[in-house]
């Protein structure tokens, strides 16, 4: 029995890795995607194009403008001479935001009154707009505090803000561990979703079913390559995340791996289910696609689950990626131990058990 399964596993690996093309297809694109997406997928604002219209000539406004010029978040793309220049510039995307300092600014400040400045932000990408606004606000409030202190005035209370786990709030620390979950899912799903469908199309699945192999033996044989490829690929990405992107790995790998294995098993279950359901490769591919898109969006990979409406939040509980995504981020950045994500682990295990059992049943009972 063990002997039969071993033969099946060897065969599955040979089928997957014997030819160079399919070896490359499994290994190369994920690495490439990791590098591109790791750099591309960022919510940090860097070198946002800023235009400055300073109608004032005093030192006060020069000091203020200097704060913006020196900030790493902004890059000054131009100094304007009149208000009429602002709108066309922003309209054509020449600048993300414009800072307008009125002619009376320095004299107002000298009189002890507030100097009113205006910031105009391109809201086409509302997220970028909000980020830019927050940057502007923090520059202005730092400036205010310093000026107030210079004048011997103190604010009645001050904010003392800290961020745990990611003190500089780098969004790459958030995205890159997410890519581990994302790519592990895509690779595992592609490997498994195509495995049964490909055999059905080639007729080899019938040949397999008339041997004395039992369905659960076939399941193990089919699951092993997915497990190895999924876990292997994830390990590679973890290494790149730690050594290339320098994402801090605070937690223990010994905590992460059991979760990773359960996650990959649940994806294998889904993949084999899709695969046993489809009669052709095309159907399997479409099925995998129809699973991946909502699974990624509902997992909280790019946007937080908490922001979704209630019915969609309910749907996310069916998504294995949701659980693993939380775990991998928390293990990486918070160093969370298993006691902190136990409630993420057991639903994922149930999904794995159910999908694997369904897939096994479908091997023989698909109606066609």
């Amino acid at each position: 029995m063990g002997h039969r399964i071993l033969a099946l596993i060897i065969k599955e690996f040979l089928a997957l890795f014997r030819d160079k093309k399919s070896r490359m297809a499994v290994i190369v694109p994920p690495i490439f995607q990791l590098l591109v997406f790791g750099y591309a997928a960022t919510f940090d604002l860097e070198h946002a194009a800023l235009a400055i219209l300073n109608e004032d000539t005093g030192g006060f406004s020069r000091d203020l403008a200097g704060r913006f010029e020196r900030s790493s978040g902004f890059e000054v793309v131009g100094y304007l001479r009149s208000e009429a220049e602002i709108a066309p510039l922003i309209d054509r995307g020449g600048a993300l935001l414009a800072l307008h300092i009125g002619p009376q600014c320095s004299s107002d400040a000298a009189r002890g009154e507030s100097c009113n400045i205006q910031v105009l932000i391109d809201g086409r990408n509302s997220n970028t707009a909000m980020l830019a606004l927050n940057y502007v606000r923090s520059i202005v409030s730092d400036f205010n505090e310093e000026r107030a202190e210079l004048n011997g005035v103190k604010l009645p209370a001050r904010l003392n803000m800290r961020a745990w786990f990611n003190p500089n709030l780098e969004s790459r620390w958030f995205i890159v561990p997410g890519i581990i979950a994302l790519l592990a899912m895509i690779v595992t799903l592609v490997v498994t979703a195509l495995s049964v469908a490909r055999e059905r199309e080639a007729g080899t699945f019938d040949q397999l079913l008339v041997t004395p192999l039992r369905p659960w033996e076939i399941l193990i044989g089919k699951a092993m390559p997915g497990l190895l490829v999924g876990v292997g690929e994830a390990s590679l990405i973890i290494a790149v995340a730690v050594f290339w992107f320098k994402i801090p790995l605070v937690g223990q790998l010994s905590v992460l791996y059991p979760a990773l294995i359960i996650y990959v098993l649940s994806i294998i279950g889904v993949g084999l289910m899709i695969s046993s359901f489809s009669a052709t490769l095309q159907q399997a591919l479409l099925g995998a696609f129809l699973f991946i898109v909502p699974a990624v969006i509902l997992s909280g990979f790019s946007t937080p689950i908490a922001n979704m409406p209630a019915f969609m939040q309910a749907l996310t509980y069916l998504d294995p990626m949701r659980y693993f995504l939380t775990i991998v981020r928390r293990v990486f950045l918070e160093g969370a131990g298993i006691e902190y994500f136990w409630h993420d682990l057991w639903p994922m295990s149930i999904i794995a058990a159910v999908t694997l059992a369904m897939a096994t049943w479908l091997f023989r009972h698909r109606m066609y």
Partner: protein, 623 residues
């Protein structure tokens, strides 16, 4: 007739015979301007995975207008390449081609505008209806709107498709699809028609109808037709035949001229008291015999020379009747090409290491009132039959008759809607997995792992069947040597030649020494010589007590079965021995009825009854 010694391989038949009509000689003579198609020293090579393969090697011939010319040769002879070259879809490496006096290489578009070409797998759009397919090709060929109604009516009537104008092409039977494909090529009548294996996988009734269409076109419209085929009996329906082998033309003549060459070497041997398989085996061991083929109760023999055949090697107490018979094209084909298959002349008998008589004398396969529904469509409609131990049992029928569905239910691959079937006393769908170790299965198309080597396939399947240790390695060695697979052990199985793929599939099905062997159209697409070899192997298995269930649409293969059923529309039309089946049907003038005649007769009777809306069960004939 006194004849010179038989011309050896590769010599032109013209060397020995003067054809009755002036032949378009396949020599490098000046192209005959009257010819419909002229090929001159055409050479074509392909590069597949860095290996250069010569598909056509200096081919010259002229196809005469106003008649059907058959292009005949085994698989891989270069038939399809030749057709594609003529249609301007490929460019030759060397040589020239002229179709209807137009240079194909220089003006492919002009040629394509005036010829009709039907590829092997004609591209019908299966999700379009019959009429929509016709409309598409009428548009593409620029048929005027006014002329269409009349042309459609004429073509559809000819093909017997009038009643199916609105049906999706995908829902037509295999034969109807081929006829529709032909009709689509004919929407605008071409002067030259190229048909690439139009009758492959088509049941005998549709085949007969396809030929009628072709004859009609030649007679009524004066069309020139070049038709390639792997069915040797079709050679005799052509006015001229071009025999092609390994990219070279072996001969170009009237079909009769070919068969005449083996005149005096063909015999029919009968021994009523001897089982036909034993008789065949005895005869094939006779050194004077080149080929021995079961045909009904008799054995058809091609001898190595014209000396009268002596029934040596047979038990003396048995009455043996040897009679000369008229030669067929197939005899010439075998006589010419079998020498090439040196290995095929050796002993093809398979000897299993262990055989079991556990089931001797029992019904090994039982099928009772078996039904399989898909929605409200009955793919298998109350089918019943019994297969006895050590029997070769055939399941015959056209495409879509329900053969494969029955087969899959027996193997436990498809759930049963109602009824019952057992194999070796068990239902394979519900029995324990170990029960499946008793059966061997060979699927319709090659279905082993293509990207694994021969050795890896053998290793995997032997383990999957639970063989291990010394027995496993012993059986792998046995498989490699019995099926001559040693030289290919490390070859990727998908790049094996077709005949070897089929051997590998049989080896996999036999390694665990099954009691029952299921073969689903095992020989489709395999050339006639490899088919013969295969059947010798199957016969030897049956002699050792293996029960064999086989489906086929080659009617002559039905002759090899001990008993068979003929199926149509999911029902059994007839059951019995091949001889009993043929009784009551007459052949053509002056010849014995063949299996094909019986099949067509049964099917036509069934169709008539269906038309009369008689009770569905009434068509059940029994032998």
């Amino acid at each position: 007739m006194a004849r010179p010694a038989v011309s050896p391989l590769h010599s032109s038949p013209h060397a020995a015979f003067a054809p009755t009509a002036p032949s378009a000689a396949p020599t490098g003579a000046a192209p005959d301007s009257a010819a419909a198609l002229v090929l001159d020293q055409v050479r074509k090579t392909f590069t597949i995975e860095k290996k250069q393969i010569t598909a056509l090697d200096g081919v010259s011939c002229a196809i005469r207008p106003g008649m059907v010319t058959g292009l005949i040769g085994p698989d891989g002879a270069g038939k399809t390449t030749l057709m594609r070259l003529c249609a301007g879809l490929l460019t030759p490496d060397q040589g020239s081609l002229r179709a209807l006096n137009i240079d194909v290489v220089r003006e492919p578009l002009k040629v394509q505008a005036s010829i009709g070409y039907m590829p092997q797998r004609f591209g019908l759009y299966e999700d379009l209806t019959v009429l929509e397919n016709l409309d598409l090709y009428a548009d593409l060929q620029g048929v005027e709107a006014e002329a269409r109604a009349e042309r459609y009516a004429q073509l559809l009537a000819m093909a017997g498709l009038e009643g199916f104008r609105g049906r999706l092409a995908g829902r037509l039977s295999g034969g109807m699809k081929q006829k529709l494909g032909l009709v689509c090529t004919l929407v605008r009548p071409p002067r030259l028609l190229l048909l690439d294996e139009p009758t492959v996988g088509v049941d005998p009734v549709s085949r007969r109808e396809l030929w009628q269409i072709v004859y009609h076109l030649v007679e009524a419209e004066g069309m020139s037709v070049l038709l390639s085929t792997a069915y040797l009996d079709e050679a005799e329906r052509c006015a001229e035949v071009v025999l092609i082998h390994q990219g070279k033309i072996l001969g170009h003549d009237h079909p009769r001229a070919f068969s005449q060459q083996v005149e005096g070497r063909t015999w029919q041997v009968r021994a009523p008291d001897m089982p036909k398989r034993a008789l065949q085996r005895a005869l094939s061991h006779n050194p004077a015999v080149l080929d021995a083929l079961i045909l009904g109760k008799a054995i058809r023999v091609v001898s190595r020379d014209r000396t009268p055949l002596q029934p040596i090697g047979l038990p003396s107490e048995i009455a043996v009747e040897v009679a000369p018979v008229a030669p067929r094209f197939e005899d010439y084909f075998v006589a010419t090409l079998k020498d090439d298959h040196a290995a095929a002349n050796g002993d093809n008998h398979i000897t299993l290491r262990q055989t079991s008589d556990r089931l001797a004398g029992q019904d090994v396969i039982t099928v009772d009132n078996l039904v399989r529904r898909f929605g409200d469509f009955y793919a298998v409609d109350h089918v019943g039959f019994r297969v006895r131990h050590g029997e070769i049992f055939g399941l015959l029928g056209a495409n879509g008759a329900g053969k494969t569905t029955t087969f899959r239910m027996l193997c436990g691959l498809l759930p049963i809607s109602s009824g019952a079937c057992t194999v070796a006393g068990m239902n394979l769908r519900t029995a324990a997995a170990a029960a499946r170790a008793k059966i061997g299965y060979m699927a319709q198309k090659f279905s082993l792992y293509g990207n694994l080597s021969v050795m890896q396939n053998l290793k995997f399947f032997s383990s999957a069947y639970g063989l291990r240790g010394a027995r496993r390695s012993g059986q792998i060695d046995w498989a490699l040597s019995t099926f001559n697979l040693e030289p290919f052990a490390a070859t990727e199985s998908q790049s094996l030649p077709l005949g070897f793929k089929q051997r590998l599939a049989l080896a996999v099905a036999l390694m665990h020494e099954p009691e029952v062997l299921f073969l689903d159209e095992p020989t489709s697409g395999v050339d006639p010589l490899a088919r013969r070899e295969f059947w010798v192997q199957i016969n030897s298995l049956a002699d050792q007590g293996v029960t064999v269930l086989v489906t086929t649409h080659f009617m002559e293969e039905a002759e090899y079965c001990d008993r068979l059923v003929i199926m149509a529309d999911g029902r059994v039309l007839a059951e019995g021995t091949p001889e009993a089946m043929k009784e009551g049907f007459s052949g053509g003038v002056g010849r014995e009825a063949t299996m094909e005649d019986a099949f067509i007769g049964l099917l036509e009777a069934n169709r008539n009854e269906a038309n009369l809306k008689s009770a569905p069960q009434a068509a059940k004939a029994s032998a």
